[in-house]
Symmetry: C2
Subunit: 149 residues, 2 copies
DNA sequence: GTACAAGTTCAAGTTAGCTTGAAGTCAAGT
DNA sequence: ACTTGACTTCAAGCTAACTTGAACTTGTAC
């Protein structure tokens, strides 16, 4: 039962690719000591941190946002039950927003099909404001669905 | 009242940037005649086609999928009420799937917070199968949420 | 001592859906 | 004639979150 884990072991246990772990390491989401050889050595607590990252991603947070959340924890500490609960309401709130938005979309869709208008000017579905609001290049992430920045 | 519209006019009426319209044109989503000058000229029906594209994007279809749908219409025809209705069930179905998935996510989140486990091996939230299933590079679109390829 | 797996860094590639810029053409107004 | 604005093509850039490849070093097993 080793105290410190290699990147390969962490990868296996977490299901996250080693390349991704190096990437997280570079971005400061996780941190490692180095063995004399220069190889990364991770404490077990890193697994909870990784779990946190994975879950947060599923909720829809970007890595930057996740990094910000992790920065609010005592340095290098893995999130515990308390932190979990502090975040839970924010996260479920976020999911709820997404659900609500999809339901609104669903509603307008059925409406539009009912009336058969398919008019860009009138139909709520086209939602030109949202589209106009997204400036610059890049894929249109969730196409006008992002709540705040 | 001109019969044919310039790309700028189409852009204004649809709210879609001219650069995007050229992009759609190149991808075959819309098609144009050319004036003697080489400038694009669009029939009015293009507005309905564009509406179709915009709506389909909001539902979550990729441009490739949208192109496939449009290919099933008589060539160069704008989608009418019938086409609309034929597609409506597919689309609302798709939205429903997404909603269901978010609700599942919400459920596991509350569960996980209740038990405080935050274990990558046991917790339903981490969902290693989904993650393992996404191969290759590129951003993890909707992080493991995509139903079929 | 010689494989071979597993680790390292760093740069470049991948995806989608556009945008931006460069360099030039065309049309209308003064 | 000259400017202004709208249009053209084509190549390159942007974003996020990684992956892939090259070139090299370390650690373990036989």
């Amino acid at each position: 039962m080793a105290e410190l884990l290699t990147i390969g072991e962490v990868s296996q246990r977490s299901g996250v690719a080693a390349s991704a772990l190096r990437f997280y390491d570079d971005r400061g989401l996780i941190s490692s000591e180095r063995a004399g050889s220069g190889h990364r050595r991770y404490p077990r607590s890193v697994l909870r941190r990784i779990a946190f990252v994975v879950f947060a991603q599923r909720v829809g947070l970007t890595l930057d946002e996740i990094a910000a959340e992790l920065d609010r924890l005592p340095p290098h500490r893995a999130p515990g039950r308390r932190d979990w609960q502090r975040l839970s309401s924010t996260w479920t709130g976020r999911i709820d927003e997404k659900i609500a938005e999809l339901q609104r979309l669903r509603g307008s869709l059925t409406e539009c099909i009912g009336c058969g208008c398919l008019s860009l000017e009138r139909c709520a579905l086209s939602n030109p404001e949202d589209r106009a609001a997204r400036l610059g290049p890049g894929p249109r992430w969730w196409l006008g669905d992002r709540p705040t920045g």
